[in-house]
């Protein structure tokens, strides 16, 4: 188990290095640089700035410096925002994105498992038909559409009742978190519902569930101990990649709901070719996702003993 964890962590570090390299190369092959903003600067100032930021050095050397700073945990200073260290940007804004993401994942996971089990239980009956229709909507409609529709619905709802039931946008209290995390988790929840449904249908007719019934166990015990635990295995498997999907989806939802998360800075930085911020946020997100996937895989071992010992 420990060996496995170490192995996975080493693999993770290599993955992050890959992400860093790819980001660096992509960034530098895009035309333009962070100094080419709207303000025209003289050749002399430009030279000075380039020297200050190290942009006049050969690409390979720059790459080396970036990598070395990254290893020390220093992502540098933003080009576009005055006097802001990338580390500070991440420290201030990532927790907000993380809370949003965790809520969305929790919502997607619980909802997916619940609705999946429900649709399997009532296969081809009314609850199944209704939920599966909604699932197709959830999978095919992008989250920014849901975000806009959700906001509109909230506005109407608040106006109808005359009081603010849930805030339409912004961040701060728990009630601010509900609407955006629901919107953010919706697509993943729909996907997980489908997965859970098919997995559940397979398990329900499996030999060991038949054995459980032949033992005369009460239905709730069969459901909890024999069906549910085995049926959520595929759901747990895709939970890692789902975190990635939710994080990237978060950029847009943060924008629509005016949430001061990290996603907004990431999008801005790409537009302004703010090298250090792009580099910092991408590598940070990459490392975060790789870490989450490892955590999910280790969790998987807790549920499935066959994985644990391998």
């Amino acid at each position: 188990m420990i060996r496995y964890t170490i192995k996975r962590l080493i693999q993770g570090v290599i993955t992050v290095w890959f992400i860093a390299t790819a980001t660096f190369m992509a960034m530098h092959s895009v035309p333009g640089d962070p100094l080419m903003n709207d303000k025209a600067i003289s050749e002399e100032i430009r030279k000075n700035l380039e020297a200050q930021y190290g942009l006049d050095k050969p690409i390979i050397e720059q790459y080396g410096i970036y990598l070395w700073n990254m290893v020390r945990g220093d992502f540098g200073i933003s080009f576009a925002q005055e006097n802001r260290r990338v580390n500070d940007i991440i420290r201030e804004h990532f927790p907000i994105s993380a809370i949003l993401g965790i809520l969305a994942i929790a919502f997607a996971g619980l909802g997916g498992i619940l609705f999946g089990a429900l649709t399997a239980r009532y296969r081809n009956q009314m609850p199944d038909i209704v939920i599966m229709f909604l699932v197709i909507l959830g999978i095919s409609v992008p989250s920014f559409v849901f975000a806009a529709l959700g906001q509109l619905a909230l506005v109407k709802l608040n106006a109808f009742f005359g009081i603010s039931i849930l805030p339409v946008a912004g961040w701060g209290t728990l009630s601010h978190m509900i609407a955006p995390s629901l919107v953010l988790g919706l697509g993943t929840m729909a996907f997980l519902t489908r997965l859970m449904r098919s997995s559940m249908l397979e398990i329900v007719s499996s030999d060991y569930v038949r054995t459980a019934r032949s033992k005369g166990l009460p239905p709730t015990r069969i459901f909890l101990r024999h069906e549910l635990r085995n049926a959520i295995l595929p759901v747990v498997t895709v939970l890692g990649p789902s975190i990635a999907a939710i994080t990237t989806g978060g950029f847009v939802v943060e924008l629509v709901f005016a949430i001061p998360g990290l996603g907004r800075y990431f999008v801005q930085a790409v537009q302004q070719l703010d090298y250090t911020v792009i580099m910092g946020t991408t590598v940070f997100y990459g490392a975060f996702l790789v870490f989450m996937v490892i955590v999910v895989d280790l969790l998987y071992g807790l549920i499935d003993p066959r994985v644990r010992l391998e």
């Binding site: 030999d207 038949r210 033992k215 549920i303």
Partner: protein
């Protein structure tokens, strides 16, 4: 086994005129069409027949394991010690299942929950039916594993199914099925998925446990060798019906139905003879979407008569406790003598 022991062994389970159907997209499958049998304490009843003849459905309907829909029990009764357990659609329950009747299945590899320890899976039955605490039940589970001849039962009880071999899994299944001391054990092709050495060990184990606990066994199999070794009574099943019922000796040495004779002839032997060719039964079983109006075996029977086509034969008694559904045994059948002669042991047909 004779009439005398029949009277000594009390009847545990009486099944009468059981009919089971399945609704499918292609129509209604008449899987079991009026089956009756008795199960006696301490005795083994073997139900033999080829794949798809309704053997498993018969016992699963008694256990209430028929998924409904699409399955349904159309008619019939099953009384366990006089108490009705097939109530219209399903067994009267969880009280009987696992507690009074235990069941083991064909494929032990897939019949155990992969994410639960063997010990927990055995203990579960005791917790539910006998009110054992988890600790008590686990201790008992280890004892049961020991009874089914698994080494280091305490350590093994903490392991998961994937850490067991096929034979050990089937032993664990048996331990689970007998945990509550059931009076009947249903074994649905218990050795089909195992190799012959293991098969033999499992059969020995079943027989020993049967003798220790005076337990009745309903053994589902398509292997006549297993039948000869284990069975006291045999029911030969074909297309959802019992074509012949009797003691194991009756079935093997006084076969009364042409199908039984055909099955015996189709058995491979160990004899070193030039005519080692298997004697298959030509044709295939009838379509159970629309079962034939007369004898189910009519289309394949070498002795088929006019009457067989449209009139279903009733069960004719051939001897004490030996009956067959075949018109050849009707008192007015012109070929009756021929049939009786034919029912005598045939050359090379014994086991």
């Amino acid at each position: 086994m004779n009439t005398l022991t029949d009277q000594v062994a009390p009847t545990l389970l009486e099944v009468r005129d059981l009919e089971v159907e399945f609704d499918t997209y292609g129509g209604t499958v008449h899987a079991v069409r009026g089956v009756s049998f008795d199960v006696h304490a301490g005795k083994t009843l073997a139900i033999v027949g080829e794949s798809g003849c309704g053997k498993s459905v018969t016992v699963q309907s008694i256990m209430g394991l028929i998924p409904s829909p699409p399955g349904r029990i159309v008619a019939g009764t099953a009384k366990l010690r006089g108490r009705e357990i097939v109530d219209g659609e399903t067994i009267d329950g969880d009280i009987v299942r696992g507690s009074e009747i235990g069941m083991i299945f064909q494929d032990p590899m897939t019949s155990l929950n992969p994410t639960m320890t063997i010990g927990d899976q055995i203990a579960e039955t005791l917790q539910v039916h006998r009110g054992f605490s988890h600790g008590q039940a686990l201790a008992r589970a280890a004892e049961l594993l020991e009874m089914t001849r698994i080494n280091e039962p305490r350590r093994r009880a903490r392991q998961y199914p994937f850490e067991f071999s096929g034979g050990m899994l089937q032993r664990s299944m048996i331990a689970m099925a007998i945990a509550c001391g059931p009076s009947i054990l249903i074994a649905d092709e218990p050795t089909t998925a195992l190799d012959v050495t293991i098969q033999s060990q499992i059969l020995d184990l079943l027989r020993d446990l049967q003798q220790q606990n005076n337990m009745a066994i309903i053994l589902i199999t398509h292997d006549l060798g297993v039948v000869a070794r284990m069975a006291d009574e045999v029911a030969v099943m074909y297309a959802g019906e019992f074509l012949e019922t009797g003691t194991a000796d009756d079935i093997f040495y006084n076969s009364a139905h042409p199908y039984t004779v055909g099955l015996k002839a189709a058995m491979p032997t160990n004899r070193d003879e030039s005519e080692q060719d298997l004697m298959p039964i030509d044709g295939s079983p009838p379509d159970l979407f629309a079962p034939p109006p007369g004898c189910a075996y009519f289309a394949r029977c070498p002795h088929a008569m006019e009457a067989c086509q449209n009139d279903p034969p009733p069960a004719f008694p051939v001897g004490s406790g030996h009956a067959t559904r075949c018109w050849l045994h009707h008192a007015d059948c012109p070929r009756r003598t021929e049939a009786l002669h034919y029912a005598a042991p045939i050359e090379g047909g014994d086991t």
